[in-house]
Structures are given as structure tokens and as C-alpha cells.
């Protein structure tokens, strides 16, 4: 099954592939992000309840969704790295973790900025908020662990193991936090009732989500290229490239 993948697992091939894809991905991501955000900010009517504050949705929801999507991408890479010992997968775990952490931080910050006008407080210990915070801690744990070893290989492998363990725990955390919150919270705080979104509001949101997705891939390309160079610096092809 992984036969056909094998040539793509060669670091040099991946390096050049990423180099070729990166400008396109980055361009597309920027274009879509600007399109979605400007549309969402300026060309849609305000929400009848939340007024213009709801426009934060165009960053909040893409970042929140992609913070989880990025974690699953990282966990898949980690699993491949551990089971099939594919080096490129191992390096992409480390390359992708900071992207996920930044997305999570964006979701948290925009959520807080949205919560202040809507709920009257920057932060409450609500289920979703808490599990997003824990997700940030998980990302930071992976980053901290990978940097704690004098041997880079060991760091990458151990971080992969932690990422896999984390993905097993993520649903448990999610479920338990959800359950914990509903026990303690009455209906005191606005629930995340899904706003029945008008299609005119939905389109820019979908475009922004796509933009975040492509941006993740673009950033991954940049970071993976660096990781490949760092780990393959003894190879002739890297030396030849650095020489000129």
C-alpha cells in the first residue's frame, strides 16, 4: 500500500516538491483569506442579535476548526513516523506543531475578544473554551518535548509518540470537559447555539476556512523544507546547494 508513496518519502524529492508547491499554495491562501475576510467584514449585513461583532466569526471559526484539523494531521504524521519509520513524516510532526499552536492561539484570542461583548467577560470555564485551551497545552507539550533532547532524532521520535498518545486522549478530554461543564453550568451563559447562517454570510466563512487550510499546507511546506535541510545537512545534495 505504501509502495507508491515510497519515492515521495525521499527527503530530496519532498524538498523540491515543497519548493515548487509553496508559492502557489501561499498565493492561493493569501488571496482566499483576503477575499473571505473582506467580504465578511464589509459586504455582509450584520447579525440581527450580535450586530457587527459577529464578523469575528470569519477568523474564529476557521482557526478553531483548523486547530483541530491540524492536530489530526500531526497525529497521522506521527503515526506514520512511528510505525513505518518514515523520516519525512517524523520531521513534519515537528514542522506542523507550531502552526497548530498558532491556530489554536488565534481561536482562543478571537474567541475571547468575541466573548467580552457577547458574554460580558473575557473568559469563562466553558467546555469548548477549556478544551481548546487544553489543546494549546498539548501542542506546547509536543514542542517543548521535541526541543528537550540533545539528539534531534530522539526529540522527533519522542514528540511523535506524545502526539499519538495525545490524539487518543483528545476525545476523552473533549467528552469529559463537555460533561463537566454541563453539570455545573445552568443555562446561565449563552450556549453555542448554531446561528442559522444566511447563505450570504456562509460563503465568506467557507472561503476563509479553505484559506486557513491552504495556509496550513503552505506553512508546512516552508517549515518542512527547513527541517529536511537541518536533518540532511550532511548529504551531498544539501552541501552542493549550500555551497553555491
Amino acid at each position: 500500500m505504501f509502495k507508491w508513496l515510497h519515492p515521495y518519502a525521499k527527503p530530496e524529492t519532498v524538498y523540491h516538491l515543497c519548493g515548487r508547491l509553496m508559492p502557489w499554495l501561499m498565493g492561493a491562501a493569501l488571496l482566499l483569506l483576503l477575499l473571505g475576510n473582506i467580504w465578511g467584514l464589509a459586504f455582509t449585513p450584520p447579525d440581527y442579535q450580535q450586530g457587527d461583532s459577529y464578523r469575528i466569526i470569519h477568523l474564529h471559526v476557521p482557526a478553531a476548526i483548523m486547530s483541530m484539523g491540524t492536530y489530526s494531521a500531526m497525529a497521522i504524521a506521527a503515526f506514520i513516523a512511528l510505525v513505518w519509520q518514515v523520516k519525512v513524516a517524523q520531521w513534519s510532526v515537528l514542522a506542523i506543531a507550531p502552526i497548530g499552536a498558532v491556530y489554536t492561539a488565534i481561536a482562543l484570542i478571537t474567541g475571547m475578544a468575541w466573548g467580552k461583548p457577547m458574554w460580558g467577560t473575557w473568559w469563562v470555564w466553558d467546555a469548548r473554551l477549556t478544551s481548546e485551551l487544553i489543546l494549546l497545552f498539548l501542542y506546547l507539550g509536543v514542542i517543548a518535548l521535541s526541543g528537550a533532547f540533545s539528539d534531534r532524532q530522539t526529540g522527533a521520535k519522542v514528540a511523535s509518540l506524545l502526539a499519538v498518545v495525545g490524539v487518543i486522549n483528545l476525545p476523552i478530554i473533549h467528552f469529559s470537559v463537555e460533561w463537566w461543564n454541563t453539570l455545573h453550568q445552568g443555562a446561565s451563559i449563552t450556549k453555542f447555539a448554531k446561528p442559522s447562517i444566511d447563505p450570504s454570510m456562509l460563503w465568506p466563512l467557507l472561503i476563509s476556512i479553505l484559506a486557513f487550510k491552504i495556509l496550513m499546507l503552505a506553512l508546512l511546506c516552508v517549515r518542512l523544507r527547513t527541517a529536511i535541510l537541518v536533518n540532511e545537512q550532511h548529504r551531498p545534495w544539501v552541501k552542493a546547494m549550500a555551497g553555491d
Binding site: 518535548l145 509518540l161 498518545v165 478530554i173 470537559v177
Partner: protein, 221 residues
């Protein structure tokens, strides 16, 4: 399959010889617990309300910090390396460590619980819930802490890195355990919470030893 016996005997002998390894965490638990009345104020009602959370947070930190040293000695003197080279006995070694860790840190916490109940003004119903959750929860604590210790054994960054990695994973346990104690204090049933904790424990019991052995292998190479 290598038998567990000699490995466990070795761990217990080491514990008997290095008493600080199990006395210190217990003392740490008690000191951290006694910080709360000092920091939060001595009102009995307030203490009773925060007791479940506080007990579990203190238990968590003390098991975690105790686990830090678990593999250190055997890593430094090359025992882990040689066991990894000979493959077979590694799992038995890990299981013995796990069991010894629980016996030396989890079990003392359970035994200490009457004292804790006194300190924090816990009523009878919550006390029973506390003992039950400690019995179910401390093995899970041990499992996760041992995993953390195995992950960081060659990292040389001290307990704080271990805590960073493992604390997020503890959160479900913390939530269910303190919820059970709270339910008990309100005379509500808490079978549900205990069942979930048992499920988590069994799940961890199946997966963690394998993860620990592979973490050790990675750290050695």
C-alpha cells in the same frame, strides 16, 4: 515471557533501601494540601467546597514529581540500555516499575486519606467517595506519570517538562474524580463517574505499557 517476580522483587528491595523515594512524595502531598488552608483561608465551608479539587490536584502533582526519578538511575547506569538490547525482559521491567510506583506513591495516598479528610473538613459521604476515587484514580495517575517519565528519561530537563506533558492528559481524571466527590457530598449517586474512571484505567492499562517500552527504546538509541 519473562516472569514478573524477580523484577518486582528488585524494585521493592530498592524502595526498602531508598526510603526517601516514597516518603518524600507523601510528605509533599501533605505539605501542598496544608498550603491551601493557609492561602485560601480557614473557613470550613469554603474548604469543604474546594476539597475535592484540591486533594486531586495535590495527588496529581505528588505522583507526577515522584515518577520523575523512576527510570533515571537505571537509565544512567545502563540497565535500561542492556534490557532494550535483550528485548524480552523489557516489558516485565516496565510492569514491575509501574506496580512499584503505584505501591510506593498511590497506595500511601489512599492510606493517608483519613488524615486528609480531617484536614480539609470532608464529610463522611465524600470521604468514602474520596477513597474509592483514589483507589481507581491513583493507578491511572501512575500509568500516565510513568509514561511521562519514560518519554523524558534522556531529556535531563527535570520534573517540570514531565509535568507539562502529562498534566493535560490528567484532566479527564481530575474532572471525574472531583465530580464524584462532589456528587457524594450532595448525596447524589456517583456510579457513573466511577465507571468512567474504571474504563479509562482499563484503557490505559492496555496501552500505556506498550507506549512506555517504545519510549524507552527511543530514548536509549
Amino acid at each position: 515471557m519473562v516472569t514478573l517476580g524477580p523484577f518486582l522483587k528488585r524494585e521493592l528491595r530498592l524502595l526498602a533501601r531508598q526510603k526517601a523515594d516514597w516518603l518524600n512524595p507523601v510528605l509533599f502531598f501533605l505539605i501542598v494540601l496544608s498550603l491551601f488552608p493557609l492561602g485560601v483561608g480557614p473557613e470550613p465551608n469554603l474548604l469543604r467546597i474546594i476539597a475535592p479539587g484540591v486533594i486531586w490536584i495535590a495527588a496529581l502533582l505528588s505522583v507526577l514529581l515522584a515518577a520523575e526519578r523512576l527510570f533515571k538511575d537505571d537509565y544512567r547506569n545502563g540497565v535500561v540500555e542492556q534490557l532494550v538490547a535483550s528485548r524480552q525482559p523489557l516489558l516485565a521491567f516496565v510492569l514491575a516499575k509501574l506496580l512499584a510506583n503505584w505501591l510506593s506513591t498511590g497506595l500511601p495516598l489512599v492510606l493517608l486519606s483519613p488524615l486528609v479528610a480531617l484536614l480539609l473538613n470532608v464529610d463522611m459521604a465524600s470521604f468514602i467517595a474520596m477513597v474509592l476515587t483514589l483507589l481507581l484514580g491513583t493507578p491511572l495517575l501512575s500509568l500516565l506519570s510513568v509514561l511521562g517519565a519514560a518519554l523524558t528519561v534522556s531529556a535531563d530537563k527535570g520534573g517540570i517538562l514531565l509535568a507539562l506533558l502529562i498534566l493535560p492528559l490528567y484532566i479527564p481524571l481530575l474532572i471525574f474524580a472531583s465530580a464524584a466527590m462532589e456528587a457524594a457530598s450532595m448525596a447524589l449517586p456517583y456510579h457513573g463517574q466511577l465507571a468512567v474512571m474504571l474504563a479509562m484505567l482499563l484503557f490505559a492499562l492496555a496501552l500505556v505499557p506498550v507506549a512506555v517500552t517504545s519510549a524507552l527504546k527511543i530514548n536509549v538509541s
